[in-house]
């Protein structure tokens, strides 16, 4: 009994070695399983954690999920340093090597097509946040610390605050649209993701843009410079907006079949 097989990614064969210290989701170093000219990156995982029932239970446990997600992403990251991996979704598990081989064979044409489409490309994540909590309200800075003298005054102040919020959202939306258009023009492809909830991301402010861009490695410098310039511009002209860049990621957001 050597356990189950957890598959991280499928790649074209590559020459470079993976980092020696690299460990996978259950502490086992990832191995390369080559079949029909494709490479599946695989770890041995124990049945007690990765059989259907325990896996289902583990996925409900945020600590376990966090550890496993980071380990999965760690392997994908290491692969991204040496090749263009096709990342599989977390929790892709087979009984044994032959199950992985059967899968490689069955999906061979899809894998080759997608790997060719993504070869030499990485994904960059760009998010725009707008600060809402904690900063002083614009209407309050104009009329400092004025107590509502009456219900009517109070309602007027509420309206002004709501108006200020509305203006900020409009500005944020407009900025996000402009930025997305500019970055899309420099990228081969883009995806808009649902905005992130700050409860999990821990990021300050509200996420108004959460986008991914597929960029050839040769164009990355230019792309990152453009985002950096935007960051600088924004901190000078619109201090309540914030731009964040993450990456380079494996092309997670573009690994599915083309729409």
């Amino acid at each position: 009994m050597t356990g189950l097989r957890y598959v991280y990614a499928v790649c074209h064969p590559f020459g470079a070695a993976l980092q020696a210290q690299l460990t996978g989701v259950a502490g086992d170093p990832p191995r390369l399983l080559t079949h029909h000219g494709l490479v599946a990156v695989v770890s041995h995982v124990p049945e007690r954690d990765f059989a259907e029932k325990p896996l289902r239970a583990h996925l409900e446990d945020l600590d376990w999920l966090t550890r496993t997600a980071r380990a999965h992403q760690g392997v994908i990251d290491a692969l991204t340093a040496v090749t263009t991996p096709l990342p599989l979704r977390l929790g892709t598990v087979f009984r044994d090597d032959s199950g992985v081989r059967v899968m490689l064979e069955a999906r061979e044409a899809d894998f080759r097509r997608t790997l060719d489409r993504l070869a030499g490309r990485v994904e960059w994540g760009v998010k725009v946040y707008t600060e809402t909590e904690n900063g002083p309200e614009p209407s309050e800075t104009q009329r400092p610390a004025e107590k509502a003298a009456s219900g009517r005054d109070y309602l007027r102040q509420r309206r002004m605050r709501a108006k200020a919020h509305e203006d900020l959202w409009e500005k944020a939306e407009e900025f996000a649209n402009r930025l997305h258009a500019a970055l899309s023009a420099r990228a081969e492809d883009s995806r808009l993701h649902a905005p992130q909830n700050s409860a999990l991301s821990g990021a300050a402010g509200r996420n108004v843009l959460n986008a991914a861009y597929l960029v050839p490695r040769t164009d990355c410098e230019e792309f990152v410079e453009l985002v950096d310039r935007t960051k600088d511009d924004v901190s000078g002209t619109a201090p309540r907006l914030r731009v964040e860049l993450t990456g380079p990621w494996a092309a997670y957001s573009f690994a599915g079949e083309e729409p």
Partner: protein, 120 residues
């Protein structure tokens, strides 16, 4: 151009990535393959509704009946309008409560502190 086996890496890899960035990619993006161990990630309760919201793509979330960003004033202008309407209604109601028998004038003193605390 380089012929080195390792790509030149001028960027610290995912230095700025938060947990949500990682989860939304490894749980919701990437290639879906039915392994021998059949787990449908969408069947998993994933702890809290919030987590589910984060990892679900827009379309999937809609399928699951989740559309918080459509009703979140931060993310939708339609929601902002209804938010204002809701707030107006709430304030009118509050005013009405302060004038139980119609004796008070419309600009009767409110309790701004309390009202603010209850506002979103």
């Amino acid at each position: 151009m380089t012929t080195a086996s390792r790509f030149p890496d001028p960027y610290p890899s995912n230095g700025g990535a938060n947990l949500a960035d990682i989860l939304e990619r490894v749980l919701d993006k990437g290639v879906v393959i039915a392994g021998d161990i059949r787990i449908n990630l969408l069947d998993i309760e994933l702890l809290t509704v919030k987590l589910r919201l984060i990892v679900a793509s827009v379309d999937k979330a809609r399928e699951m009946g989740i559309d918080w960003w459509e009703t979140d004033p931060a993310l939708s202008s339609k929601a902002r309008r209804s938010e204002l309407a809701r707030e107006n209604a709430e304030l009118r109601e509050r005013l009405a409560q302060l004038e139980p028998d119609g004796q008070r004038e419309p600009d009767a003193q409110l309790e701004p502190g309390r009202a603010r605390k209850e506002a979103p």
